[in-house]
Amino acid sequence: MSTDTPSTIERVTESLERPTTDRTQLLVHIGLGVSVFLMAFPILIALLVSTQEQGVINSVGDLAPGSHMVDNYQTVMTDYNFGVYLLNSFIMSIIIVVGKLAISLLAALAIVYYRFPFKNLMFMLILFTLMLPVPVRFVPLFNIVTDLGWYNSMLALTIPYLASATTVFLLRQHFLSIPESIVEQAKLDGIGPLKFLVYVLIPMSKGMLAGVSVIMFIYAWNQYLWPLVIIDSQAQQVTQVGITLLQGDIQAGELQWSIVMAGAIITLIPPLLALIAFRKPLLETFGVQQK
C-alpha cells in the first residue's frame, strides 16, 4: 500500500497541471461501468427471471423483481433433483481438489528435492499431459472407464482427473522460490522428506495452495462434457448437466423459465463464492499484485 503514495501525488499534481485529467478519469469510470454492466447483464436477467411467478415471464418487458424467488428455488431443489445434483457436484469437486493437491504435492516434492535419474524426462512426461485434454482421448477413455465398471459412478467423475500437470508445475515453481537457507536447515536437522513436506513446505505454501485449490475447484465444478457421457442416472448426475436436463424439459413444454433460471443461479453460486472468498490467494497464484 505504501507504493500508492507517489502515484497518488503524481496524479494530484497532474490534475492541477492538466484540467482534462478529471474529465478523462470520469470517462474511464463510465467506460468501466458500462463494460462491467454488460458483463453482468445476462446473469442479472437470470436472477430477475428466477424471482418471477411461473408462466408470467413469457411476456417481454415486465422484468421487475417478482415475489416467487423462495418458491422457485425450493421447487428446483426438491422437485427437480437439484439438491442431489448439487451434492454430487460438491463431492466430485472436493475429491478432485484434494486428490490433485495430494498427489501433486508428492510429485513436486520428488521433482524439486530429490536427485534421481531421468528427472527431466519425468517432469516432461507430466507436463505433456497438458496436450491431452479429454476430447483427444475421448472414446478410449470412455471404454476404459466402462471396462473398469465405473460407468455411472463417482469414481468415473473423479479418478481420471487426479493427475494435474498445472498443479505440479505451479507447486514446483513455488517450491523453487522457497529460500535455500530453509532447505539447508532442514537438511542439517536430518528431517525426513514427508516431515519436510508436512512441517515446512505445506505451511510455507498456504496461500499458493489456497489459490490452486480455487482454480481446481472452479475447473472441476464447471466440467460438462465428461459427466454428460459417463453418467446416465439422474441420481448420480452433476449440476452442470442437470441444468441442461431442465432445458430439455422446457422444450418439451413441461417447465417454466423461472425454474430453469433458479437452477442456473444455484449452479453459479458455489464457484462464484469460491472466487470472491479466495480472490486474494487466487490473484497471487496468477501473479497479480494489487497496486
Binding site: V36, M39, F138, Y224, V229
Partner: protein, 294 residues
C-alpha cells in the same frame, strides 16, 4: 543444486508414482488407443471393428461436411481469440488506469471466470430466444434484423460466438492486469508527459511490454476455443442450423455418441490433437521471435 537434499531414487519414484499411474492409465494409454482405434472402421453400432488403415482419415479429408466443420472451427476460433483479447485488453487497461475503485472493478470484471459454461449457455439461450428472449425485440428494433437463429446459420454463429467471448473475458483480464501491474510506473508517466494519447500508449508501450502474457493468452484462448466451448454448442445450437456452428469437437462427439462411429471419432481426435499441437508450436515459436521478454 543445493535444493536436491534427498537422493534415494526409489523413494522419488514412489512419490511420483500416483501422478504417473493416473497419467499412464487415463491420459497416455487412451491417447495411444485413440491412434489405434482411428485405424478401424466401426460397424453395427459400435459392436464390430474392421481394420481400415487410413480409411477414416481419407474419408474425413474428402468429406465436404468435415471440410465445412474445419472452416467453421477456424473462423470461430479466430474471431473468439481476437475478440476476447481485444475486449479484455481494453477493459484491463481501463482498470489499470483508473485510480479509484480499482479492486472493485477488478472483481466485477473477473467474475465470469467462475461462471459455468453450461449456465452461460442456458442464460444466452433464454435472453436471445427468437420468440421469448428479453433481448430479441430490442435488438430487432435497433438493428432492423429479424432474429431467428434456430433456422439461420449466420445468426446462430454470432450468438454462439458472443456467448463464448463473453465467458472468457474474466480469465484474460486476470492475466492482463497481472502483466500491466508489472510494467514500471515510470514508463507510462514519461509517455504521459510527452503527450502520447491514451490509446497510443496502450498500443505502442504497454502491448509490446506485456507481449509474453499476450502470447500465453493466445495459446490458452486457442485451447479454449477448440475444446472448452463444447457446452455452448451443445446447449445453444447442437451444431446447427445446417452445420453453421458444427465445430470439430462437436462433430467428434456426435460421431462417437450419437452415431457410435468410434473409429471415425478417434481419427477426428487425432486430427484435433495434431491441429492444436501445430498451432501451439507455431504460436510459441512466434513468441520467441516477436515477444519482448523483460
Amino acid at each position: 543444486m543445493a535444493r536436491e537434499i534427498y537422493d534415494r531414487s526409489w523413494l522419488a519414484y514412489l512419490l511420483l508414482l500416483p501422478t504417473l499411474v493416473v497419467s499412464a492409465i487415463f491420459l497416455y494409454y487412451p491417447a495411444a488407443q485413440a491412434v489405434n482405434l482411428s485405424l478401424y472402421e466401426t460397424l453395427q453400432f459400435g459392436t464390430q471393428r474392421v481394420w481400415t488403415g487410413l480409411g477414416n482419415y481419407s474419408y474425413l479429408l474428402t468429406s465436404s461436411d468435415y471440410h465445412s466443420s474445419i472452416v467453421v472451427t477456424i473462423a470461430f476460433s479466430l474471431i473468439v481469440i481476437v475478440g476476447v483479447m481485444a475486449i479484455s485488453l481494453v477493459v484491463s487497461y481501463l482498470i489499470y488506469e483508473v485510480s479509484v475503485g480499482q479492486s472493485s472493478y477488478l472483481i466485477a470484471a473477473i467474475w465470469p471466470y467462475a461462471l459455468p459454461p453450461a449456465v452461460a449457455g442456458i442464460v444466452f439461450f433464454y435472453i436471445i430466444h427468437p420468440s421469448l428472449g428479453v433481448l430479441t425485440q430490442p435488438i430487432q428494433a435497433i438493428f432492423g434484423v429479424n432474429i431467428d437463429w434456430f433456422t439461420r446459420g449466420g445468426q446462430a454463429f454470432v450468438v454462439v460466438t458472443v456467448a463464448v467471448i463473453w465467458k472468457q473475458i474474466g480469465y484474460n483480464v486476470i492475466f492482463m492486469i497481472a502483466a500491466l501491474n508489472n510494467v514500471p510506473d515510470a514508463l507510462g508517466e514519461v509517455a504521459d508527459l510527452d503527450g502520447v494519447g491514451r490509446f497510443q500508449r496502450l498500443v505502442r508501450i504497454y502491448m509490446p511490454l506485456i507481449s509474453p502474457t499476450l502470447i500465453f493468452l493466445v495459446v490458452m484462448n486457442t485451447i479454449y476455443a477448440f475444446f472448452h466451448t463444447f457446452a455452448f454448442i451443445d446447449i445453444l445450437t447442437q451444431g446447427g442450423p445446417g452445420g453453421a456452428t458444427n465445430i470439430m469437437i462437436y462433430d467428434l462427439y456426435r460421431n462417437a455418441f450419437e452415431f457410435n462411429n468410434h473409429g471415425l471419432a478417434s481419427a477426428q481426435s487425432v486430427i484435433l490433437f495434431l491441429v492444436v499441437g501445430v498451432l501451439m508450436y507455431a504460436q510459441l515459436r512466434l513468441s520467441d521471435k516477436y515477444a519482448h521478454y523483460g
